[in-house]
Amino acid sequence: MQSAYISLGDLKANRNALAEPAASESAGGCSSSGGSGKSSCGSSGGPDDMPTEIWDKVKNHPCYSEEAHHHFARMHVAVAPACNIQCNYCNRKYDCSNESRPGVVSQKLTPDQAVKKVLAVASEIPQMTVLGIAGPGDALANPKKTFDTMRQLTEKAPDIKLCLSTNGLALPEMVDEICKHNIDHVTITINMVDPEIGAKIYPWIFWNHQRVTGVEAARILHEQQMKGLEMLTARGVLTKINSVLIPGINDEHLIEVNREVKKRGAFLHNIMPLISEAEHGTHFGLTGQRGPTAQELKAVQDACMGGANLMRHCRQCRADAVGLLGEDRSEEFTLDKIEEMDIVYDIDKRRAYQEKVEAERQAQHQAKVDALADALDASLIAGQEDLKVLVAVATEGQGRVNQHFGHATEFQIFEVSRKEALFVGHRRVDLYCQGGYGEDEQLPSIVNAINDCHAVLVSKIGACPRDELKAAGIEPVEEYAHEFIEKAALNWFADYCTRVASGAIVHQERGDARIRQGAVMAA
């Protein structure tokens, strides 16, 4: 395979401290080639796909490793409310709609409050390994608050990885400070590399004590973003690029963005759907700019495969989220609740717990490798070598099919073929089961959200939704309850191929699905 992943090479070339990459121990998983081994699995990349020192940085980072996101948790602290640019998808009167749940003002924290909250969460949730500052404004437009928080955490919680996210405008002047605080993961939101396109996304920036507008503003922002990215790559800091997919404005263009950021050493590229409802009060929301459908999003993501590694498991979480991606336990850690907590930061206990989680993760990886052989055989027998289908999975973590259909607030989507079970995204839905009873009016919206899937894997499902899903052409599957997700998906795929081969069923293509807008999770 062509080695397309030049960023690791750049990182290595520029970082004397890095050791030589360890040899691959296992032939399983994805292939690598050359010294700069590109993962063929996007962000699903595992230890076989990258140098040891990079793997060590990302293996328990839920945002940088798709595998890790089933097991490890993150938290954001909202210490950075100010911003230095205006985006058309963001309403600063409330919260940034793409980094935070819209319409809900976060509880702003001082650095001292934030540090206390991090220690409280870390002692309650030992698998919380990552702390990020993601606004609700821009982390680097609030440098004092951001770096004061980071400095204290480096002393008090040295095992927690520190990250921040930024629009990039102030990035070049902050790179030294970022490195000083041991922040080795930085997310930059880059929506364009062409200022003409940028002018449609950014009405203004605050730059050199002036409000700059139009193409000039987008040009300055673009230059700062590229310069900042190059500087971080040169320092060996891992970077994730977030891009908001805005249909009709930057959809095709994001392929070029992907190419440009990859060239400058970006580790991951996360293409997320625009969230724009009129009630959020954003410019795009008010002017009727729509977000992409599920298949439109997937088409752009697929077109970028082979470029910078793609992240597809982003939940666009709010700036004060706590827990596994897709869950939010921030309500358990409000300021008044933290005041009453007895906080003991036991680093050994955290490490012991994380080792158990790591063992479980490795078991999940092995189960996937084993199940691949069966899927391969079945698809060949069925004459379906090129068959690829999507399956939806209800899970509450640990990488297993372990959630009741009625309890799911999101479904994880896997693209299954004889070669792999690839995580391609997630779909938020409204709870079907409320207070023990199914809400039948919710079912059509759930079907819409997973309409492009052939099956939905659950731990259990009631008779009513089961029949309705079948009628809609989506197969409800309980047989793989509590199995690891990839194994379950591949086993189901093998069974599906077998049924197609026997003539029991006829394979049919599915339609598109709707990406749910609005609030991320019920409060």
Partner: protein, 64 residues
Amino acid sequence: MAYKIIGSTCSGCSACDPECPNDAIREKSGVFIIDPAKCTECEGHFDTPQCVAVCPVDGCIVKA
């Protein structure tokens, strides 16, 4: 000669506070206020009032 922040529209984001050359802005009950005795509308410092230029809410900061 001073600007004022309309409290009901202020989002409390704090962007204005560090930009003020006169240290005239402070937080009060979750929103920001300008001390009219200190505000010079940035005259002698900048071409435009800094708080107005950086504020994300249109019409939130106006002449007093």
